[in-house]
Symmetry: C2
Subunit: 269 residues, 2 copies
């Protein structure tokens, strides 16, 4: 395995850039190839079979980029396709769900944890199952929030409408007296301040993007895969559609300059 | 051409069911094959090339169903792919955009028309171009409303949040003193009462779904393609994903019973 090879990160679209951002912050010398499946997004409302099929096509594409590890930055794909991706890939795989679930199990004091995410992520029950693997007696309450992604993509990060919708979505969870809330979709950290406001100060917000970057860092160190010679082209971005729109969104999210995004036909893989 | 063959109707997903509903109301004896591309929806945020590629795959599928005419029930596909579909199909093709644009040009008194739709439909300028073909001096003002589809799909058809978002979206159009507003996305007739409320009584709302059904009826009559013997299985529904969810949404929209929806792999076509 080439320790100077890039990390492969993929998502259904732009949301995974919040994971890429944390990776850039935590391990800034590591090269990265990012793929966003913008021609087929969103994954959150699609079926398990379809999401698995899409994820495997992406893994086959990432293999052509000789990645040394794969990060599934999409919660839905991580929920449905982690095992399938591990089988297909011949490199270590990290999914955002496992990292986020691990942290939630560690920080909850009351053992009552809320999870918000897309319909697919919540329906899969993956956060509940994974949190309970780390800490069996935890009670986990899920709530699908399908409007958050379009609200974020419409730029309403700090807006009364987003706050109203957030209040409705979390009222059920507040009634369960949770002390920890997992932001189980990559878009949600962008409305963190609204979530903080509607949940109150006593609930710990878990950001799986951050936990994933930390886990990735440790994994690379343990396996002797940390980069020793950063290549010239440190970051590469690929999408299946809307390359220009992706570039401009990426510029607003990432601390490093995003020069260009290449469009590929993912159905060929 | 077999006059008893079905009409092929396609959309990016469930929105085109509002077009199917109008067809069922206007020509209830006609058989229909509906395809919803639920594995790749929405189209509204995708590029021209991608939408054309998807539309051509769907036409190739519809050909296998021996359809006698094709209705592009998706505004975005109609905007980007009408010509390409006409070339690929060997049967008459009707797109919602042309039907809606034709009616808008007829009903406006002031010659100032507003159009609301997805980002793709508005960016294409197709409604402006088509309305001006029918009535060159018309001024057409477009406004993309990306949150309407998710709000409709979340069931918030009559809700204060939808009204607040609608008010923001149309305020620009109201400032243009339009007297006609085209609901340029198949989901929008489902929030017609909210649009009526925020636009006021003096603006005529044009529903391209209705106009499309009327145009289809006339076209079948003119070409001698009206069905004379309705087959046993009058309506057939196909999707690329989420067949069960589609069936339950279709039941809430359509006046006729929807028994089952078949899932196909559209990428094979």
């Amino acid at each position: 395995m080439d320790r100077n090879a890039p990390i492969g990160v993929f998502d259904s679209g732009i949301g995974g850039l919040t994971v890429a951002r944390e990776i850039i912050r935590q391990i800034p010398h590591e090269p990265m190839v990012y793929f966003g499946d913008t021609a087929r997004l969103p994954y959150g409302s699609k079926s398990r079979d379809t999401v698995i099929r899409y994820a495997l096509q992406i893994v086959r594409f990432l293999k052509t980029q000789n990645v040394k590890a794969i990060v599934i930055a999409c919660n839905t794909a991580s929920a449905y396709a982690l095992e399938a991706v591990e089988k297909e890939a011949d490199v270590p795989v990290i999914g955002v769900v496992r990292s986020g679930a691990h942290m939630a199990a560690q920080v909850t004091r009351s053992g009552r944890v809320g999870v918000i995410g897309t319909a697919g992520t919540i329906k899969s029950g993956i956060y509940r199952d994974t949190i309970q693997k780390f800490r069996p007696e935890t009670e986990v309450f899920g709530k699908a929030c399908p409007l958050f992604v379009p609200l974020v993509e419409e730029g309403l990060w700090h807006d009364s409408v987003t706050e109203e919708i957030a209040s409705r979505y979390v009222s059920e969870l507040k009634g369960k007296f949770i002390d920890t809330l997992v932001m189980g979709c990559t878009h949600y950290p962008l409305i963190r301040s609204t979530l903080r406001k509607v949940m109150g100060e006593n609930v710990t917000l878990v950001n799986p993007a951050y936990e994933t970057a930390i886990e990735l860092k440790h994994m690379l160190e343990e396996k002797g895969l940390t980069c020793e010679k950063t290549p010239k082209e440190k970051y590469q971005f690929f999408v299946s559609d809307q390359a220009e729109e992706f570039t401009s969104f990426a510029k607003s999210i990432l601390p490093e300059e995003v020069k260009e995004t290449k469009k590929i036909d993912i159905e060929e893989f």
